[in-house]
């Protein structure tokens, strides 16, 4: 992007307070999650005092006597990586399903969307729990797959809805009358017009991904027991909420701020898209 492009984007953001706020919050939390481990005063597994006391740095210690603040700084990377990957996976799979169904139309569309409805009838968290029953300790990639695929049918429905509104427009018919290949019609005519609503959907899906990934940790299904992770931290320190609330509240608050940021961002994009300027 050129310098002028950056300037005009900044100006447009200024007129979209929600999008701007959401973007700033999301970026700040993401930066903390990424560079946090280097800023932490203590190591993530370093014992700095007795469990559940206010020793260590300002947020006190956790169930093993580790420093809560250091673990908050160290524990965002895994959630960020897992939820962003899961969102990307869910978006790609969902968009492919939705756009193919909408563009193909007829019985193929019908068949794909019926199957999709079946997948939709399953609450997202249930799907994840079903698979987790079968494994003792889930790997991180497994969580990515579980969360990603549980998004796919929802993304597919949105993508199909958006695509249906585009494939029925005359510029798509016009490309077909010229004899453009089907792939080019999808890539050059249909997809570029779906940018804005899909971006909004991605923001929404990221919000849910963070909630689900952290939720799975909160329910106690740790991918790496002992490692710092915002979701797991809540579960580890939950019983001591009364004596040392920060062990629970600190990760809860960062997760909350993060999801509020991504949700504001998604809504801001949706607003832009609604005005047709996206």
């Amino acid at each position: 992007m050129s310098l002028m492009g950056v300037a005009s984007t900044t100006r447009r953001l200024g007129r979209q307070p929600r999008l701007a706020t959401g973007l700033v919050i999301t970026l700040v939390i993401a930066v903390i999650a990424i560079v946090g481990p280097w800023l932490a005063p203590y190591g993530e597994n370093e014992i700095v005092g007795k469990p559940f006391t206010l020793e260590g740095s300002w947020l006190g210690t956790d169930y093993l006597g580790q420093d809560v603040w250091s673990r908050v700084l160290a524990g965002g990377g895994s959630i960020l990586l897992t939820s962003v990957s899961a969102t990307a996976l869910g978006m790609v799979v969902g968009i492919v399903i939705g756009v193919v169904a909408a563009y193909a139309g007829g019985w193929l569309d019908e068949a794909i969307m019926r199957l999709n409805d079946v997948a939709l009838a399953f609450p997202q968290i249930l799907l994840a729990l079903l698979v987790l029953t079968a494994v003792d300790q889930p790997a991180a990639w497994m969580i990515v797959l579980l969360v990603g695929f549980s998004h796919a049918p929802r993304v597919a429905r949105v993508a199909r809805g958006v695509a249906l509104g585009i494939v029925s427009r005359d510029f798509v018919h016009s490309a077909e009358a010229l004899g453009e290949s089907r792939l080019r019609v999808v890539v050059a005519e249909v997809l570029p017009n779906m940018n804005a609503p899909l971006l909004a959907e991605a923001g929404l899906r990221l919000t849910y991904s963070i909630g689900m990934v952290a939720g799975i940790g909160f329910l106690g299904f740790a991918t790496d027991p002992g490692a710092a992770d915002w979701g797991q931290m809540i579960n580890e320190n939950r019983l001591a909420l009364l004596v040392q609330p920060w062990g629970v509240l600190a990760p809860v608050i960062v997760i909350g701020i993060f999801t509020v940021g991504t949700n504001l961002m998604a809504d801001g994009i949706a607003q832009l898209a609604g005005r047709g300027t996206g």
């Binding site: 005359d170 018919h173 009358a177 017009n193």
Partner: protein
């Protein structure tokens, strides 16, 4: 005509502006409505005609506010009244018939209840009397009055029925003033004719003072007693109908009349350059000066006042009387000679088309010659667009033979050779949908050249500039996206894209129906020029018979999927043989 004291209404110095700004939507509107008289308020899109119309009910849409003006009705100023005082007048004394009754009737309420809603709210009459009134009203507009009909929901009625229900609803409380907002838009001419006649009868028999808001000069020419022409938020000319159509005084009125086609004779249509400026983009001085062919320096500086031209006739132009007289016959041209030799390029034989199991076109034959425009005319559902889509390769479910330049055409575009796809180009009705909003004009127009190997890169861009010039667009639009263009400009881009393939046949599907008349005029002039200079043949689909006379050499009249009459335009329109054609011609509103 004698004005009955206390009847009718007088609107003076109305100004409606966008909320919280000094941008006016309409300004300096003066108009008097007399009992038993229909005043036609004509304007192109963005002229503010609907805003002026709803102001008669003391109403402005969300985002606009009535800033100034008075509306004297029965001795009181309606615009000075409080919100609570105006409400009982609305509907009861001053009624409104909406533009799109399909959307304006509540989809969740049965029509019988909607018709009597207002009387019920005001507690007028007993339930039986109200019901009897509703039945009588439905009979008056030629609809059934039985319980089954009253119990229907709006979606169970046809377009014409819905519109007549809206008329019956508006007339039921016996209003003194009636505002009709383009109530026949989207109706077929036959239905439109019926609705217009019903409306005119009701207005006369109940001595209602009516304001008929429309973009269609031809409709006004048939029903109005007086005509007001709006441009960019002002009434620029107002006068009795006969005078307005024979001796228009304002350059804009004249240009509009030059742009509309006539059923009775072929005319070379001309457009007005540019487009109607919306609120906030209107020039100072005379608001028409930047598009006016008679413009002088003083037009740019001074705002023109109303100048009296004749009895009941005023115009807002400082040059009234200086610009000579106007003659409706100035643009006449000769019809195409029926004895001219024809060199056939496209033949359609026994064409049957279906959608799924339903056959919608039942055996149609016609042909198109080189450098000839053939019109397909019919009402909605006649199959005219369906036929054009088959020829354009957009619909493949047909049987019969379509021969193009000696070779049979495949069914869908993908079943045709590259050469055939290149030589037949399709132009769509709505330029807001037919151009990809994510691409620049240069990309859109260059694509067919790349695809068909005509030119690429630098050479393609040079050709794009040439083509844009040919459709009267400057090279400044090259790198813009379509959202920066007006409807007329977009349609020119669509034409340029079609020309980029260097076609021999253009299939034009109602390509002017989404555009204002002044823009339609210039598009038609452009097509005529392309036909002459490039020898392109055209299949021109339209519902507008008058337009056919100005653009086509031959015409095919379609009804319910069958060809009822075909031949040279001059023969079919001057001496129609089929009853349906005669009916269509009879119902088509026409200026002269």
């Amino acid at each position: 005509m004698t004005t009955v004291a206390g009847a009718g209404c007088t609107l003076t110095d109305l100004r409606v502006a966008l909320t919280g700004s000094d941008v006016d939507v309409v300004d300096e509107i003066d108009i008097e409505l007399r009992p038993g008289e229909v005043v036609g308020l004509v304007g192109e899109s963005g002229s503010g005609k609907t805003t002026a119309g709803t102001a008669l009910l003391g109403y402005a849409r969300h985002g606009a506010v009535i800033e100034r003006g008075s509306l004297v009705f029965e001795g009181q100023d309606v615009l000075a009244m409080s919100w609570e005082q105006v409400r009982p007048i609305r509907g009861m004394k001053i009624a409104y018939v909406p533009q799109d009754p399909g959307a304006a009737l509540n989809p969740a309420i049965r029509i019988g209840r909607q018709i009597v809603e207002l009387l019920e709210l005001h507690g007028i009459g007993t339930a039986e009397e109200r019901l009897a009134g509703a039945r009588a009203g439905l009979r008056e507009v030629g609809l059934p009055d039985d319980d089954e009909f009253l119990a229907r929901y709006p979606h169970q009625l046809s377009g014409g029925q819905v519109q007549r229900v809206a008329l019956a609803m508006a007339f039921l409380p016996r209003p003194k003033v009636l505002v009709l907002d383009e109530p026949t838009t989207g109706l077929d001419v036959t239905t439109q004719g019926m609705v217009l006649r019903t409306m005119a009868e009701l207005c006369r028999s109940y001595q209602v003072a009516a304001l008929y808001v429309t973009h269609d000069l031809a409709v006004v020419a048939n029903i109005a007693d007086r005509v007001a022409v709006m441009y960019a938020g002002r009434i620029i000319e107002l006068g009795p109908r006969e005078v307005m159509f024979s001796q228009p005084a304002h350059p804009y009125t004249r240009a509009l009349l030059d742009a509309i086609p006539h059923l009775a004779r072929a005319r070379a249509l001309t457009g007005i350059p540019g487009s109607t400026p919306g609120p906030g983009r209107r020039p100072s001085g005379c608001r028409f000066h930047d598009r006016c062919e008679y413009v002088q320096d003083r037009c740019r500086e001074t705002e023109p006042r109303d100048v009296r031209v004749g009895q009941d006739h005023t115009a807002k132009c400082v040059r009234v009387g200086e610009i000579g007289s106007w003659d409706i016959n100035r643009g006449n041209v000769a019809d195409t000679d029926p004895h001219k030799e024809r060199d056939i390029i496209l033949t359609v034989e026994d064409l049957h088309v279906s959608y799924g199991r339903t056959e919608v076109v039942h055996g149609v034959d016609f042909d198109v010659a080189r450098a000839e425009v053939v019109a397909l005319v019919g009402e909605s559902g006649s199959g005219k667009t369906t036929i054009s889509r088959c020829i354009g390769g957009l619909h493949g479910e047909w049987t019969g033979a379509v021969t193009f330049d000696g070779r049979a055409l495949g069914k869908g575009a993908r079943a045709r050779s590259v050469e055939e796809r290149k030589r037949i180009q399709y132009i769509f009705q709505n330029p807001y949908l037919s151009l990809n909003p994510r691409l620049t004009i240069a990309q859109i127009v260059a694509r067919p050249m790349e695809l068909f190997g005509i030119a690429r890169g630098r050479a393609a861009r040079d050709k794009v500039v040439e083509l844009l010039e040919a459709v009267a667009l400057g090279p400044t639009v090259l790198d813009l996206r379509t959202d920066r263009l007006s409807g007329g400009e977009r349609q020119r881009v669509a034409i340029a894209r079609a020309l980029a393939a260097e076609p021999d046949l253009l299939v034009c599907d109602e390509i002017t129906s989404a555009l204002d008349v002044s823009v339609q005029g210039s598009i038609v002039a452009l097509l005529e020029d392309l036909r002459k200079t490039r020898g392109i043949s055209m299949l021109f689909v339209t519902h507008n018979l008058a337009l056919v006379r100005s653009i086509a050499a031959r015409v095919q009249v379609l009804s319910a999927g069958e060809l009822v009459e075909s031949g040279f335009v001059v023969e079919v329109l001057d001496s129609p043989r089929h009853e349906y054609t005669r009916q269509l011609i009879g119902n088509s509103p026409t200026v002269a």
